[in-house]
C-alpha cells in the first residue's frame, strides 16, 4: 500500500520578538496554534493528534513542558508526542507529524515548536559545569567560528561573503512581518563594521535570541480537498544523525547532511536541486553557513557555494532565493527555528509568503540542523500533489 500524500493546510507563527513578557509559555504556543487553525479554517475537534517540539528542557527549566501545554493545544483526550533533536527539532517534529499522516495513523495533525529564550539561558543550558571536563573556552559563536575559518581556507572564499549573507537576510526580514529583527537602516557597511566577536564572525553575522512559536496543520488527501487555501504537498522528508565528534567528522560539510538531502531528493525525484528547486529555507545561525550548506545540500559543487552567494543567486530576486523570510539570522526561537524553515518553505509553494514571496515558487526545501552538526532534518514541498 502506498503512503498517504501529506498536505500542509494551516500555518501560524507568533510575531517573533526578544521577549514576550505578556504571555506564558502556554499563551505563546496557543497563539501560533490558533493562527494555524484559522488558516486551515479548522477547530480543535478536527485535530486528531498533537506533535510538539522544543530544544532542551534546561533552556526554560520546565521539565516535559508538553504535559502542561496539553490544555493550551487542545490535546486532552488525544495522542500528544514530544520530539527532541536539539536545534533541528522544529524540522524533525514536523516530519514525525507528517509520517503519522503518511502512515494513515491520523488524518489531521497539529504540529508545533517553540522557544521562549527570554525565560531561558541557552548558553547555560548547553554548558553545564561537568566535573573533570575542560570547559568550552569560547562561548556560543566560538564553537562555530573555527569551522567557518576551515571553510574559508578550504574554498578560498573572500572574507566578505559572510557579510553579504547577513545583509541579504536582514533585508529579507523587513518583508516578513513575523521576523524578529527589523533593521530598517541596515547597510552592507554597517554589517561589515559591526564588532568582530569571534573572528571571523561579526556581531551582525550572528542570529538573535527570540521568543516565538510556529505551528502547522498537516492532513491527508481528503483534508487537503477541504482546505480553503492551496495546500503545500510534502514530496520528501528525511532525518539523519551522526556523532558531534568523531575521527573523520567533516564539520564544514557533514556526511549526515549530504545523506539527508540525497534521501529527500530521491523521494521527490529531484535530479538537479539547483535547477529544480525554486526557494530554500535553510538553517543559517551564522552567515557563513549559507555557502557551506549550499554545498552540503548539493546546490553547488564543493568549494563553489560562496560563488552563488557572491553573485546574488541567493537574493530574493535571484535564481535560487535562500531564506526569503530572513532566516535564522533574523529570527531564532531555537526550538521553533527548524519548523519556521519548514513552514516558510510551505508558504512559498502555497503562494502565501506575502512581500517575501518568491515569484512562481512551485518547489521549496526546508532544512534544519542542530547539536554540533549532529542532527539534520529536511523536507521538500511542492504546489502540486506527489504523483507517486
Amino acid at each position: 500500500m502506498s503512503k498517504e500524500p501529506v498536505a500542509v493546510v494551516g500555518i501560524g507563527q507568533t510575531k517573533h520578538v526578544a521577549a514576550r513578557h505578556d504571555v506564558s509559555i502556554a499563551g505563546l504556543v496557543r497563539e501560533a496554534a490558533v493562527r494555524a487553525l484559522q488558516d486551515a479554517r479548522l477547530g480543535w475537534p478536527d485535530i486528531d493528534a498533537v506533535v510538539i517540539g522544543k530544544a532542551p528542557d534546561f533552556f526554560e527549566g520546565v521539565m516535559m513542558p508538553e504535559l502542561y501545554l496539553a490544555d493550551a493545544l487542545g490535546a486532552v483526550g488525544k495522542p500528544m508526542l514530544r520530539v527532541h533533536t536539539a536545534g533541528s527539532v522544529g524540522g524533525s517534529t514536523a516530519l514525525v507529524a507528517a509520517n503519522l499522516v503518511a502512515a494513515r495513523v491520523h488524518r489531521t495533525v497539529l504540529t508545533l515548536a517553540f522557544e521562549k529564550q527570554s525565560e531561558s539561558n541557552a548558553m547555560w543550558g548547553l554548558s553545564l559545569p561537568i566535573p573533570f571536563q575542560q570547559p568550552l573556552l569560547a562561548g556560543a559563536g566560538g564553537f562555530f567560528a573555527p569551522h567557518i575559518r576551515a571553510y574559508m581556507r578550504r574554498t578560498g572564499a573572500p572574507d566578505t561573503v559572510g557579510s553579504l549573507v547577513a545583509y541579504k537576510d536582514r533585508r529579507n526580514a523587513l518583508k516578513n512581518p513575523y521576523a524578529h529583527l527589523h533593521e530598517h537602516d541596515i547597510t552592507l557597511e554597517k554589517v561589515q563594521s559591526s564588532p568582530m566577536l569571534w573572528d571571523p564572525v561579526r556581531y551582525s553575522e550572528t542570529c538573535p535570541s527570540s521568543d516565538g512559536a510556529c505551528a502547522m496543520i498537516l492532513t491527508d488527501r481528503g483534508g487537503a480537498g477541504r482546505s480553503p487555501h492551496p495546500p503545500a504537498w510534502v514530496h520528501g522528508g528525511a532525518m539523519r544523525s551522526e556523532p558531534t565528534l568523531f575521527a573523520g567528522k567533516d564539520f564544514v560539510s557533514p556526511q549526515a547532511g549530504k545523506d539527508c538531502a540525497a534521501d529527500v531528493y530521491r523521494q521527490a525525484g529531484i535530479a538537479d536541486p539547483r535547477r529544480e528547486i525554486d526557494a530554500v529555507e535553510m538553517y543559517v545561525p551564522f552567515s557563513w553557513y549559507e555557502p557551506m550548506w549550499l554545498e552540503n545540500l548539493g546546490f553547488a559543487a564543493e568549494g563553489e557555494g560562496w560563488k552563488l552567494t557572491e553573485s546574488g543567486v541567493t537574493e530574493l530576486d535571484g535564481d535560487l532565493p535562500v531564506n526569503p523570510s530572513g532566516g535564522v539570522l533574523s529570527t531564532n526561537p531555537i526550538g521553533a527555528s527548524g519548523m519556521i524553515r519548514f513552514a516558510e518553505a510551505a508558504l512559498q509553494v502555497r503562494g502565501q509568503a506575502g512581500e517575501h514571496q518568491v515569484d512562481g515558487a512551485r518547489t521549496a526545501l526546508g532544512h534544519a540542523y542542530g547539536g554540533g552538526a549532529q542532527f539534520f532534518s529536511m523536507w521538500l514541498v511542492g504546489s502540486e500533489p506527489p504523483t507517486s
Partner: protein
C-alpha cells in the same frame, strides 16, 4: 604502550542551579497577585466548574477561559501523604503532610503542605484553612501552608449525595474582576538539581595520565583511529577501545577563532585564540587556548606544545613550538 593498572573510577557532585524567570500571562498573574492580597482565585470553565489553581485553557473544550472567581480560604483535604523528612526548600522544615485541598467553592484541589503534629492527625475529609505567609510577594509560597480548621468534618469521602461539599455549599465562588493594584506579571523560579557524576573508566585513565603530563588516547581496533580524549568506545565502529596510545605532546593548530568578547565565568583576558589542535598521533582535534604569541599571529598549521600551570588538570594553554608550520595537506582532515 602497555595499559596501566586501572585507577579507581572518579566521581564528583554536580549541582545544576539556575534562577529561571516566568512570564505569567493574565490568569496566573491574577492568581498570584490574589495570593499576595490574601484573595484565593479560581477560574470558571465553560461547563461551570471552578478550577483552583486556575488554568488559561479549558481542559475539556480547549477554549480560552478567563472568568475569575474568588473562593474561600478554607477547604477539605481530598487526599494526603505524610512527609517524615522534609528536604531543603520544602514549605516546612518539620515533618508535615502533602495534601490536596479543595478550597470551598472550587471543584478541583490544590497541592500544598499541611502543618500537623503527626500522620494520626491527618485524614481525608478533614477541614483545613490557609495560613498566609507574613511576607507575600505573589507566589504560591504566599500560602505558608495549610492548618487544621475547627469546622465540622466532611467525613472520609468529603462529599455528600448531591456531589457538593457539605461545608462548601455555603461558600459558592464569587465573581472577581482579577484587578489589583500592581499586578505580579512574572516570577523567578529558582531550580536546583543535585547529581553525582562519574566520568567512567576511559576518562579516569585519561585524567590519571594527564596528571603525569602525558596525553593518552585509545585506538579503535577496527578503524585504527586514535581517540583523544578516549571514550572507551569508537563512535563510528561501535566497538570498545582498549589499546592505549600516548600522543603529542606537540600538535598542530588546524583551525581557530579569535575571541573578542568575554565569556561569563571565564577569567581570560580578551582577545585570545581558541583553537582546534591535532596532537601528533591523534585522529581528531581537541580544543584549547593558544598563548605565548600575539593573537593576530596565530595561523592554521602553527606547531604548538602544552604549557602546564601548577595544579592544573589540563594544560593551561598551548604555545608555539620552535619548528616550521605544518603543511595544510598534513592536517586538512583534522579540522
Amino acid at each position: 604502550m602497555s595499559s596501566a593498572p586501572a585507577p579507581e573510577a572518579l566521581s564528583a557532585p554536580l549541582t545544576v542551579e539556575f534562577p529561571f524567570t516566568r512570564s505569567l500571562g493574565p490568569v496566573q498573574s491574577a492568581f498570584l497577585t490574589g495570593l499576595r492580597e490574601r484573595v484565593p482565585l479560581g477560574v470558571r470553565t465553560s461547563d461551570g466548574r471552578v478550577l483552583v489553581p486556575p488554568v488559561e485553557y479549558d481542559p475539556v473544550t480547549a477554549e480560552e477561559i478567563g472568568e475569575l472567581v474568588e473562593v474561600a480560604p478554607t477547604g477539605t483535604v481530598t487526599t494526603w501523604a505524610w512527609n517524615p523528612a522534609p528536604r531543603r526548600d520544602q514549605p516546612l522544615s518539620t515533618p508535615f503532610a502533602w495534601v490536596l485541598v479543595r478550597l470551598d467553592g472550587a471543584d478541583t484541589a490544590l497541592l500544598h503542605a499541611l502543618d500537623a503534629p503527626g500522620p494520626e492527625a491527618v485524614h481525608t475529609g478533614m477541614r483545613v484553612r490557609i495560613r498566609w505567609a507574613a511576607e507575600r510577594g505573589g507566589a504560591i509560597t504566599d500560602i505558608a501552608c495549610f492548618e487544621p480548621d475547627d469546622g465540622p468534618d466532611d467525613g472520609p469521602e468529603g462529599r455528600q449525595d448531591d456531589g457538593r461539599d457539605s461545608s462548601a455549599q455555603a461558600a459558592e465562588a464569587r465573581p472577581h474582576d482579577g484587578r489589583f493594584a500592581d499586578l505580579v506579571t512574572g516570577i523567578v523560579a529558582p531550580a536546583r538539581l543535585d547529581y553525582r557524576y562519574s566520568p567512567g573508566r576511559a576518562q579516569t585513565r585519561y585524567l590519571a595520565a594527564l596528571a603525569e603530563h602525558k596525553t593518552v588516547g585509545e585506538r579503535c581496533p577496527s578503524c585504527r583511529k586514535v581517540y583523544v580524549p578516549p571514550r572507551g568506545a569508537c563512535p563510528t565502529c561501535g566497538v570498545a577501545t582498549a589499546e592505549q596510545v600516548e600522543v603529542g605532546p606537540r600538535g598542530t593548530v588546524t583551525t581557530y577563532c579569535v575571541v573578542n568578547i568575554k565569556a561569563k565565568n571565564l577569567d581570560i583576558e580578551v582577545p585570545y585564540v581558541y583553537a582546534h589542535i591535532a596532537l601528533d598521533g591523534a585522529d581528531l582535534a581537541l580544543h584549547a587556548r593558544i598563548g605565548g604569541i600575539p593573537y593576530d599571529q596565530v595561523r592554521m598549521g602553527l606547531r604548538v606544545e602544552p604549557v602546564w600551570a601548577e595544579g592544573g588538570r589540563y594544560p593551561d594553554h598551548y604555545r608555539p613550538a620552535d619548528e616550521p608550520d605544518a603543511d595544510y595537506d598534513a592536517y586538512k582532515e583534522l579540522l
